[in-house]
Amino acid sequence: MSLVVYTHPSSHAHVTPPGHPERVARIETVDGVLASAEYDGLVRRAAPAADDAALKRAHEPGYVDAIIAAAPTEGSVALDPDTHMSPGSLEAARHAAGSVMAAVDAVVAGETRAAFCGVRPCGHHAERARAMGFCLFNNVAVGAHHALATHGMDRVAVVDFDVHHGNGTQDIFEDDARVFFASSHQMPLYPGTGHPHETGVGNIVNVALGPMTGGKAMRDAYTATVLPQLEAFAPELVIISAGFDAHVNDPLANLNWLDSDFGWVTTEICAVARRVAGGRVVSSLEGGYDLEGLADSLRAHLDALIAHDAAG
């Protein structure tokens, strides 16, 4: 087995306004990392597009229809101050969500133990019926619903280490005991949610990290809270919302994690997955806005996934 990586050219066609941090250069950076010689051994696959039915498992049907209708034929449409659609955005968003579905299929079929989706737009802020925070469709939520609906799974976990709270994923699953959702994030910061007292139906874990607390606070919180609760939930599949904006160089946050912290958290999540989830891990790109920091922390993440894939 080898780590499988899903990408799609449409990720380059989601164009945001000049100066926007969630920009095409991010996916060029991801592609550049994946093209480096050290990753020659990875299996590359094109991400398929998610159809309307798959999107409507995670989102209100009317919301999906509205996003489709909002897609411009030229220029750019602002859905909120952060979130924009260009003519290529709808196709990119369909493939971003579809990448997680295909990755779920691959790990469930036993073709690989782990898969990484290097796609954009990101997804974890997209709620059941609201686009926000650079996100149109909630890629990991579409993937988790796909696992529940088409693979007969009863227990799926999503772990989100993006520096911002995964409010969209929480919104979609806060009443759904089949899905465990854990998010670690800087607080106070966008979007303002993610307090530890937000626990859903006992299936939501929120870890609020103070600004400038660095990797040690994160490691302590995962060791004390996230990892034990993830293990106790005993999921059949673990999906990672892999945002790299907690990196020390990121312009949009101040958690100050180092590359090695991203490697550590990935390694630890994967270790739990090997113990309780048959090793099935799917990771999907979320944020990360300093290109060098994104590249370096993504390498640490990929190296941990590769080690997990090869582990006995």
Binding site: H20, P21, D80, P81, D82, H125, M132, G133, F134, H164, P188, L189, Y190, P191, G192, T193, P211, M212, V248, P251, L252, A253, N254, N256
Partner: protein, 84 residues
């Protein structure tokens, strides 16, 4: 990365009360969830600069109180300012 007060030069001119009021407003806005993602970090950093300004002013007030106490005691002992 958090920025220093030198990137918010107007804050140095604020009174303690004005800075605290704005800090409370910043916290309310951040917790209210209506601040765009891109603006969120800049607002947090302004809040951090306001907090430092308030702390500096409190420290200065504490030194003044210590001086006053020192004067009354004839210059031998000082007493800590106690906000409680």
């Amino acid at each position: 990365m958090a920025e220093g007060n030198d990137t918010h030069p107007d804050i140095a001119t604020l009174s303690f009360e004005a800075a605290l009021a704005e800090l409370n407003e910043v916290v309310d806005r951040l917790e209210g969830g209506e601040v765009p993602l891109e603006e969120s970090i800049r607002l947090y950093e302004r809040g951090e600069a306001l907090r430092r300004h308030c702390e500096t002013q409190l420290d200065a007030a504490e030194l003044k109180v210590e001086k006053i106490v020192q004067g009354r005691d004839g210059g031998v002992q000082t007493a800590q300012f106690d906000a409680e």
